[in-house]
Amino acid sequence: MDSMKVYKLMTMTNEALQNLIGGWFPNPEADKVSEVVDVPETEEGSEKEVKAPELVNPSLLEFTEEGSQFLNITVQPEQLHELMSLLRENSETNFDYLFCLSGVDWGKELGVVYHLESTNHRHSIVVKVNTADRENPTFDTVCNIWETAEFHEREVFDFFGVKFNNHPNLKYLFLTEDWEGYPLRKDYVDEINMVIK
């Protein structure tokens, strides 16, 4: 507290977070569609008008709260680093604590899940990024934003084979250098050491 700028505790609701963060990445498609909808402004077509804006996401990010206690954001790999920097630097969101970084094999896609918390505002969020490229999955590193990501990204590299651009020291953390395959992927086979029921 003494050494840092004192923040006022401003916990944001999930809805407020969604509106703020969604506004950073507006979907260029959304404006076009709404213009088209606005033109035939008749009273009969009012039902269609209500449906149309819901179909097109106003943001490039996808938000969901379904089946999770946190607000989940799904982001495209190209926007990952920009989004993460904004989440960290923006004084309203101020997510300064990356408390969990996990790799997940979703079956077809490989992904990384980031759990973030703000130690000043005490709100949390989950960011997910996925890629369908199983041969050479690559995301941008976030370890220049949160130092803790350096080790946790190396752990994901070990077990899922996900590479991170601009990582300062991307080599195996737990596995030996000559290890073949990625043990935590669902299609990993090891007939000797794995007991399959």
């Binding site: 089946g67 206690q69 408390f99 969990c100 997940v104 759990h115 130092e147 803790t148 953390l173 935590l184």
Partner: protein, 373 residues
């Protein structure tokens, strides 16, 4: 390798040295690759994986009741708290109403576990800086807690006392009295600890101003537990996200702002006092009732994602479960406090001496199976 000439006569050269994996000061099979110049540390790089068992992969195969047993083997010094984390995740996902009796007993045993863990740490801490007596004192008091556990749970280290839905058995009739005896005994022992080690001049000189971690860095490196709190970073999960009976008790979060080795040491000593206070508030008021609620023999979590945070003895333990609605988790990730705490070792020890590295590492309180899950 960098070579610098000193006084035109002597050359100083950087070189590598291996510390571990069989080194007593690394507290387990941890290998550190040190780059040093004379006695000055230039870089510390941990090499991990010597005892990696891939618990996360095994969890994908096992049922939720079985997973509880694997978690003892992560951070074995806070096994009860690890078990509790998994049970809480399952119970919250199933929206089970847990009896108050279970919550109170879990909290008491959790705090006893924390004291036992800190006792062992205190003994080893002294030994790492050359005071052998502390080792015996720490183990003597920890032994009393282990006896209490043995009577109630049937095990001294890997307890497996928690099951999804409650506890495996009810507490032993002697539990309350023995715990009270221990609290009374241990209250006379912490001042002894202070007298023996904390105030010792040599110890103070080894600890003060060494291995400084600022609050900003603590948050950025994901430090948690006493390591974070020694830097003035309020990160106690028991305060910010209370679980079990921790919302019913009052206690102070141990905080120090210096950020050096001594601050991390003092935070743990303060935590032992707070844990005693929590136990005292609860031990006379264990509610009557069932010690478990019935669950299905096959537990299936509803489809979704669940995250549970608890304060283990070393810091924040997270359990992240992705369920597809089957009897096994689709993916289970343990966020262990040890890996994040170890990642900042390089940052705080560069520029110091090798002897200080051992002392600094002892204040991080690393348990290697917690890092190599």
């Amino acid at each position: 390798m960098e070579t610098t000439t000193v006084n035109n006569n002597f050359k100083s050269e950087e070189y590598f040295i291996n510390m571990g994996p069989q080194h007593p000061a690394t507290h387990g099979v941890l290998r550190l690759l040190l780059t040093i110049d004379g006695e000055i540390i230039k870089k510390v790089e941990p090499d991990l994986g010597y005892i990696h068992r891939s618990i996360e992969k095994m969890c994908e195969r096992d049922s939720y009741q079985q997973i509880v047993h694997l978690t003892d083997r992560m951070d074995y010094l806070s096994s009860h708290i690890n078990n509790e984390a998994v049970c809480l995740t399952v119970e919250n996902a199933l929206q089970l109403e847990i009896p108050d009796r279970v919550k109170v007993i879990r909290t008491i045993i959790g705090e006893l576990t924390r004291i036992a863990s800190h006792c062992l740490w205190w003994g080893v801490m002294g030994m790492d800086v050359g005071a052998l007596t502390t080792y015996f004192y720490g183990f003597r008091d920890r032994e009393m807690i282990n006896d209490i556990f043995e009577e109630t749970c049937g095990a001294r280290l890997t307890m497996n006392y928690n099951i999804p839905g409650g506890l495996m058995y009810d507490i032993h009739p002697n539990f309350v009295q023995r715990t009270k005896d221990f609290v009374k005994h241990f209250k006379t022992k912490i001042p002894e600890y202070d007298k023996l080690l904390t105030g010792n001049v040599i110890f103070q000189k080894r600890m003060k101003g060494v291995g400084i971690l600022t609050k900003e860095d603590a948050i950025s490196f994901g430090a948690s537990g006493p390591v974070g709190r020694g830097s003035g970073y309020s990160c106690d999960v028991r305060k910010h996200h209370p679980y079990s009976a921790l919302d019913k008790v009052t206690f102070n979060e141990a905080l120090k702002t210096e950020g050096d080795s001594l601050a991390r040491y003092e935070v743990r000593i303060m935590e032992m006092w707070e844990s005693l206070s929590i136990i005292e508030q609860l031990i006379d008021n264990i509610p009557e009732g069932d010690y478990k609620v019935a669950t299905n023999a096959v537990i299936k979590l509803p489809k979704g994602e669940y995250y549970q945070r608890v304060e283990a003895a070393r810091g924040e333990l997270g359990v992240y479960v992705i369920s597809t609605g089957t009897k096994n988790p689709y993916r289970l990730k343990f966020r262990s406090p040890g890996l994040s705490n170890l990642s900042l070792l390089n940052h705080i020890s560069v520029g110091g001496k090798i002897g200080d590295l051992v002392a600094t590492m002892a204040t991080l309180d690393i348990v290697v199976p917690d890092i190599d899950r």
